[in-house]
């Protein structure tokens, strides 16, 4: 193992400070932390909690219901990130809807969906737009691409969200946050610095083993000092100002709105929707989708898992009715959900 990883592990293992709750709020962090086995090297008084940073996990069943409705009632071709295909809606997932005739295509990028629309003018394409600050600009670039090419058969079903409202709501759930490095790469560090001034500590964290370990080592060391702090431990990608072009394009196409987070309820102004001048590219307005609230299994504790209030194993359905092959809640479907990671990687 390299020197810097060993150095970080030593700092972590030698932590002799008070009990500390660290929360990571990024689905990719959840996944990597499990894959690397980070919890195995933490001393007992360090608690690492998973938060609501998996965009698929916080997407409610109503969104899937809308997509299924579009596919089965309007003959729309749904383009989506692979993760959403098996998320359960109230009755169907996109996977089971395929069996009923729905056309569902997995894409790697929203701009691929716009390209597909250009190549298939006879089909109506709707891209399922989910994600946080990191991903939203790519959906906006897809709309821009559609406008530039004069495409009339492309629109977004939007369920994008932003982190600030979530951080507010999570205040008190943890002593230190491990901030999602790529969200800050886009949005910059201003908000997180402000949170530190108001007593909320956090470290901007990257995604390699060295970056995750060094971020945790820093968090523990600074926490012992007793004062609220902010550290950017991912400076090779994250600049204080973030990516201004990305911020501008997001602002050009989208505006804030209230939105429901699965299991957390409505968080004001935490969602995004397309601005009125782009209504033609908003699938809800274009197709007149009826309002769909969606229903989840009442025994499913995804909401508590997402807030770090319980571990996946504390949910009565975990590993029994709810497994990666037969998921009940989104946390088990998404490759980055806490339940899925726990199930797959935990010994």
């Amino acid at each position: 193992m390299s020197d810097v990883k060993e150095k970080a592990i030593e700092i972590i293992k030698n932590y002799d400070g008070p009990h500390i709750r660290m929360m990571e709020v990024c689905g990719t962090h959840t996944h990597e932390i499990f894959r690397l086995g980070v919890r195995k090297i933490l001393p007992p008084q360090v608690e690492l909690i998973s938060g609501p940073g998996c965009p698929v996990c916080v997407t409610g069943p109503g969104f899937i219901d809308e997509a299924v409705w579009l596919a089965l009632n309007k003959g729309v071709t749904i383009c989506t990130f692979g993760d959403l295909v098996r998320v359960p809606g109230t009755e169907d997932s996109l996977a089971t809807a395929r069996g009923k005739g729905a056309r569902v295509k997995v894409v790697y990028s929203p701009t691929d969906a716009a390209d597909y629309a250009a190549e298939h003018p006879e089909e109506e394409i709707v891209f399922l737009s989910v994600g946080f600050e990191t991903t939203t600009p790519s959906s906006c670039l897809a709309v821009k691409s559609a406008i530039d090419r004069g495409l009339k058969n492309f629109s977004l079903l939007v369920s994008n969200k932003t982190m600030p409202g979530a951080y507010n709501m999570l205040n008190g759930s943890a002593d230190v946050f491990l901030y999602p490095g790529h969200v800050n790469a886009i949005a910059g560090n201003a908000l997180c610095k402000k949170l530190a001034e108001n007593g909320v500590s956090g470290v901007v964290t990257g995604f390699t083993a060295a970056e995750i370990l060094s971020a945790i080592a820093i968090a523990l060391t600074k926490f012992k000092e007793g004062k609220a702090f902010f550290v950017n431990a991912y400076p090779r990608v994250v600049k204080d100002e973030g990516n201004v072009q990305a911020q501008e394009i997001t602002d050009k196409f989208m505006e804030a709105c209230d939105t429901e987070w699965r299991g957390l309820g409505i968080i004001p102004l935490s969602g995004l929707k397309l601005r009125d001048e782009y209504a033609d590219y908003d699938a809800r307005r274009k197709f007149g989708i009826p309002v769909m609230k969606g229903r989840t299994n009442p025994a499913c504790r995804c909401g508590d898992v997402l807030q770090g209030r319980c571990r996946p194993v504390d949910c009565p359905l975990f590993g029994k009715a709810c497994t990666p092959i037969h998921p009940v809640g989104a946390c088990m479907v998404s490759g980055e959900g806490a339940c899925s990671a726990y199930y797959q990687y935990n010994i």
Partner: protein, 69 residues
Amino acid sequence: MCVGLPARVMKINDGHAVIDASGAQKEISTELLSDLEPGDYVMVHAGIAIAKIGSDDMTEADEVLGTLM
């Protein structure tokens, strides 16, 4: 879904670039970044380059831990 892929810029084509990640090559959008040159390293997410990468992660972690001393 922050999953990002570090990649090397091989060729630039007007708003797009061909990048190489450990021998796999793909064309991605560079509309969110300016002043890219072949040889630069970028972080790619969902088919779009979102940031230029300044160094390798080991050097970075070393520097970051160095601030604790």
